[in-house]
């Protein structure tokens, strides 16, 4: 399949993906968080490109390009446009401090590794280690959504989850069938747009996008 050196390169990049997720958790303001998301997506795209190169599965390149354009550039641009228009800059209120959040995310990584360690070894060059990473990224995405209150940050949490999913598909099976990957990418784009429009509506109606204001629907 791949030479040990190639495998090491892929594993190293996978580790970088996880580190980027931690950087996102450590940022307080939105702009660098979005920038890190863009970097993470570009990294995933490079990873997909290399997997295609090393294995000769050239259809992965299509996915790499779509990921680069969509998640590396289009969606971050959309998010930046939204925070510009809505004039939001900082995410001050996180109920947990940054150190506690990072610690919690570390625990999530342990959990993810424990959950995936007993699975049979994938025959792909990315293998089991990256499955642990991808589940970690997914769980940290959930964590971001649960602890942050700003609607934009919740959107980013969702996108981080999706990036983890992308890595999972890549590491287990060299990605899903092409049509499915394209469909998923399309869904992500539409979801980002729908969330964006909804944000504008919410902003017009509530004059804030702090989701804690949204507590009218209690029993």
């Amino acid at each position: 399949m791949t030479t040990p050196l190639q495998t090491d390169i892929l594993t190293g990049l996978t580790a970088l993906v996880l580190i980027m997720t931690f950087i996102m958790v450590s940022h307080k303001s939105l702009t660098p968080t979005i920038r890190t998301y863009a970097y993470q997506s570009i990294l995933l795209s490079i990873l997909a490109f290399l997997v295609g190169l090393f294995t000769g599965e050239h259809q992965i390149w299509i996915i790499a390009v779509v990921t680069l354009v969509l998640k590396g550039f289009a969606i971050p641009k959309l998010l930046n446009y939204i925070i510009d228009r809505l004039k939001i800059r900082r995410e001050r209120e996180s109920p947990l401090g940054i150190p506690t959040s990072l610690l919690a995310c570390g625990l999530l990584v342990l959990l993810a590794y424990a959950a995936t360690s007993r699975l049979p070894q994938a025959e792909t060059s990315l293998g089991r280690a990256s499955l642990g990473v991808s589940l970690s990224v997914v769980l940290i995405g959930v964590f971001i959504m649960a602890t942050r209150r700003k609607a934009v940050t919740q959107t980013i949490g969702l996108l981080v989850m999706e990036n983890g999913m992308f890595l999972a598909a890549l590491s287990l099976t060299y990605g899903m069938p092409l049509i499915v990957e394209l469909g998923v990418a399309f869904d992500v784009l539409v979801a980002a747009i729908v969330l964006g429009i909804l944000l504008f509506n919410i902003n017009q109606t509530f004059d804030t996008i702090d989701t804690r204001q949204m507590e009218r629907l209690a029993e």
Binding site: A115, R118, L119, P120, A122, E123, L135, V138, G141, V142, M145, A151, Q154, L158, M161, E162, M165, A168, A169, L172, T173, Y174, M176, P177, I179, V180, G183, V184, F186, D187, V190, A191, V194, L195, I197, L198, N201, I202, Q204, T205, F206, T211, M214, R216, L217, E219
Partner: protein, 490 residues
Amino acid sequence: MTDILYYLLAAPALTAIAAGLTKSQRFQEMANLVGASVTLVLGAIVTYAVVTTGPQSAAGSFLYADALSALLILVVSLIGFACAMYSIGYMRHEVHEDHFPAARLRLYYVLFHAFVFTMLLVAVSNNLGIMWISIEGTTLASAFLVGFYRQETSLEAAWKYLIIGSVGITLALFGTILVYFSAVHVLGPASGALEWTTLIQIAGQLDPLVLKIAFVFVLIGYGTKAGLAPMHTWLPDAHSQAPTPVSAMLSAVLLNCALYGILRFHAIVSPTLGSFSNTLLILFGLVSLGIAVPFVLIAKDYKRLLAYSSVEHVGIIALAIGIGTPLALFGGLLHIFNHAIAKSLMFFVAGNLNAKYGTRRIDAIRGALLALPATGIILLAGFLAITGSPPFSVFVSEFTILNAGFASGHYVAVTLYLLFLLLIFAGFLMSMSRMAFGKPPEGMPRREVSPWNTAAMVFLLAFVVVMGVYLPAFFVDLLHQAGAVIAVVK
């Protein structure tokens, strides 16, 4: 007949486009009604073809409809038709009352049929990845419908719906990837490794541990969208804040689309895992039933009451599938149909009450029988139906499930089921009798909201009444075949 699946998908897609092309409200309504009727006819034809000649496929192995798909297609197109009819009267009234500008009606009809399209695509996708995309598509198409009034409460509900729904669905994708992974292990990276028709044939050879984790992710993921407790928290908000015809679609049809996804995976993992998925389904089913009880008992808002009742009924269906004997499967699948009909009927009643009284508070409504003669009677019939009282259709399926549970020795589960049903009946009785009887407010004219609304309700009521005493042989065949799809190799 081979092109029938294309036509089925084309009908709602073209309807959405047609409604979007014009500014004339009359034309939009006409496109809506004609499109929904055509979709219903095509849905019925597909169902008939599947029952009489076996599974249909098209576009190679891309589109595929077996009896389980046919049941979902029937529910989507039938309820879709009733809701389209009801929409005309209801949305006219909402525009008249100035709840939103008339220009936004176009968006409503476009999204409504796009929503129907995505749900039909769920039913006919052979590829589990495409099915996932379609289920995510249903969320995206319906999010704006939930937030349609653009008030604080409806936008809050839409936001919650979209965020929680998307998290759930992403977890389901992880489960799907794992199933694909285990199939690739067996088949090699063949293109069919994500297709239902391939997967079900190699289901017995898949890695048990991978499947276990996969099913848990799928159950939590699609379960969130299906409204299974404790992942149901978005549901009462979304279902109560949406315009009423959309509430009916969400409660009666959309939940079933997500359940359908779970059923497919249940069938795939069962040959290797035995009763692992059955136990989980019974557990989540009972928790859903149990969680619904207190909220039904203390409900103050009748649309939320109906939404919690949907959590209850999804629980009943999950319980039946979990019990898993042929009789239980028959009851559970019949319940999918019966609940869909009875629940949309009740939402139509709720919409008329809301239009007439201008409130969703149960204690602010008196004398519906006098103020709305037809709706009032249907309110009482629908209440008896939805709580599973004889002689209506829901009673038949709930009683079948009860029998199946006792026959297969699930005594504890069935006893809890019966207890919860009784409590929920009591909760409904308090709320519904308060609204139906008594004197309406002074000076309220004795008049129905719109003939369109009444027609839609009578249409559904016919099913509730007739199917309480008589099941056509054709329909019984459909349910038996659909049950056989789930219980393939055991």
